[in-house]
């Protein structure tokens, strides 16, 4: 299972990279979204999969899945959400002020050199 997950993560990383290399801001942010999904799944996979019950003591199981990666992922999800929402509003303001979503048009101008 871990190998399958690693391959899925690879696919997520590749797609994310390809999207982040595109011109439109929206696609870039979609790429970052995919990248954070990939990273979260990577964290989970590296902790080991299917080692037991959900990490709730009420389950009275003999073994539990590792709680530490889950805590880390939870923190990461919230942080990446905060950053993504900030970026989205930044993109929204960019459209409003500059009237474009094309990164090639958002280059620094020559006279700034």
């Amino acid at each position: 299972m871990e190998i399958l997950m690693s391959i899925i993560i690879g696919i997520l990383f590749a797609s994310a990279t390809y999207l982040m290399l595109s011109k439109s801001i929206l696609r870039i942010i979609i790429g970052t979204g995919l990248l954070s999904h990939g990273v979260h799944l990577l964290l989970l996979t590296m902790g080991g999969l299917k080692k037991g019950a959900a990490p709730l003591l009420g389950q009275h199981a003999s073994s539990y899945s590792d709680p530490l990666p889950q805590a880390l992922i939870l923190t990461a999800i919230v942080i990446s959400f905060g950053v993504t929402s900030f970026f989205l509003v930044l993109a929204y303001r960019t459209y409003q002020e500059l009237g474009t979503d094309n990164l090639e048009k958002l280059r620094g101008k020559k006279e700034h050199e």
Binding site: I8, I11, L57, Q70
Partner: protein
Amino acid sequence: MTLLHWAALSPFIYALFIPFIHKWFKNLHMGWFILPLPTALFCYLLSMIPTTAANETIVEVANWIPSLHIDFTVNLDGLSLLFALLITGIGALVLLYSTFYLDKQKEKLNLFYFYLLLFMGAMLGIVLSDNLIVLYTFWEITSLSSFLLIGYWNEREKSRNGALKSMIVTVFGGLSLLGGIILLYLLTGSFEIREIIAYIQQQDVHSHPFFLLSMFCLLIGAFTKSAQFPFHIWLPDAMEAPTPVSAYLHSATMVKAGIYLVARLTPIYAESAYWLWTIAAVGIITLLYGSFFAVKQTDLKGILAYSTISQLGLIMSLLGLGAASVHFSLENDYFTIATAAALFHLVNHATFKGSLFMMVGIVDHETGTRDIRKLGGLMTFMPITFSIAVIGAFSMAGLPPFNGFLSKEMFFTAMINITKFDLFQFNTWGVLFPILAWIASVFTFIYSMLLVFRVFAGKYKPEQLPTKPHEAPIGMLISPLILVSLVIVIGLFPNILSNTILSPAITAVYGGVPSYDLHIYHWHGFNIEFFMTIGVFVLGILLTLTFTKWKNFYRIFPYSINALYNFLIEKGKLWSKQLTNRYMVGSIRTYLLYILTFLVATAGYTLLTKNGVNFYGKNLAQIGLYEIVLSLILIVATISILFAKSRLASIILLGAVGYSVSLFFVIFQAPDLALTQLVIETVSVALFLLCFYHLPRNARKKESIGFKMNNAIISVLVGITFSIIAISSYNTKLFDSISSYYVENTYKKAAGENMVNVILVDFRGFDTLFEIAVLAIAAIGIYTMIKLRLGGNNRENK
């Protein structure tokens, strides 16, 4: 701190009072306040002569950074005293001259004297300090103060360019010097020159790889400071400085710092043949080059600048030959005369070149021009200045009975001694030395004569002169008169110097071992030197008289080192700009490509070279049907995003990916994650849709992402790299998890049953605190971004 330390630092301390002097004493020229200092220092140093003449050295230590072996150690021996006397003596005369040269009203005298004192202190520091790091510190202060003095008239573009050029060249050499010092420290374990010499005499370090490297680094430092070929280019441009500065820095003192360094380090390196040949060859090339191009100059200070370069080359080549007596350890010491000649000529050069610069300053001051083509026939207007010029220039040309004649004779003797040993010791190229030296002397004779006779003799051209010429005020004439009387006194009675100042200095150059008994004679009999001198006079006079006929000869030398410097400076700017423009294209995608390529390359290289790849794992979990279906959904959704034409579709597909991730969380027994992921994915998709809705109309048309080969390759590589890293690292897990602790203690110690939540708020609560901070900052940031509109609501008002 002893009296000697305070003496070396006194110019710096004195400089601190300049703003107050400037403020309180406006009526009197500031030079009068500064003059007593170098005079007092000179008298104090004179009192040291009996000590050094007995070949005793005074060593005093003042701690600076003892833990790093950096202390301000003063070492006063014959060599230091010789230089210190020159610095303070000429310094006093230059100050006196500048008091009359610079106008009290028009010039910013406080700055001028501040820089000058800074320079004087640094120069004293160089010649007195025994610690190489302290020496380097003072060395750079001379570069800096020279930069400030050359650019003193900073409203002129030429001054600024000259200052910049001298700064670039001398600081280049200074840094090389620092490198050499550090290498020498690594080699010998000391910064103190005395200790280094003692170490070198005991241990054989000549085969050590640092030995030659440190030698050449130190030599580059000395050559740049002393304007040796090909680093001489800064000196002619430094002539934009006020004339007292040129006289002091660029003829008598700063340019001799390199000479001092070479003389000082001779006991360390003299046994190496590279030292001897490099210095002698560079010196003789500089001598010839400088004297040859001095003839071509039309600016008086230009002539003097090239003449200084050539005379410095002469002294340098003599120092190189002087090292030969250590290298060959001859019983019959033919080369000590070279060192004697070097130091003797050093003193002579300081006297006659100082007076010549002051003479040129007077001519400039009284006629308004320094252009040799406009001047002529000033003999009757300025008789005293003319006398100064004659004595100075004749001494420079090597005419008897002036001091230049004596040192030039010794120079020829030293050069001819090479040929004496030619067949046995030196290789045959050594024959070139006396020949080149002789040719250079002819050119020296020519420019010296042109300097005097084209200015003071010939036709008087009043229509070309900005002001009507007249004799200079007496105050301006005092300093050059003192200098030329020294020229005559040393010329007539050279032995007043020989055993008081020169012999101890020669002893110091050779590391203090033999005391040398020097006698300078006027008359050697009819030997080769005599005929060489006669030849110089005859050919020199002939060529001077026919100068107008052959001066076009110089047109065949259109290229110069200066052109190379300008080329390098200009092209350096251009090339670095072109290079930067080539990779700093302004597009984020390109930079991202660089970053990712680097990432893949380094990670891939490390994986492959360190045998990091490992596909054979244990402890793998089973794959069930749910997992397969969910994986397929995830993969299809992910890849479809790439091919989606409309952005709306890609947003929805991203949502699909998010929900399937949360389903994975369900399968992998992570309920809290699944919950959070569901909620957050929903909000995110809503935000994406908001963003999409506000896309500008013209940009909203559907277009597919397009295919770019580079992007595709790098993306696939990134994906593969991370897959391999993930698999390999999972399969090479080295330790068990620490989570058993959490499982055991979640209820016992923290009173909770949900392990993830207990970790978040109890075991690792700090993470959560700052995660809350992140969310708060993001919220405030979003609010600010939307509300804060500096510079007006341009677009919305339209």
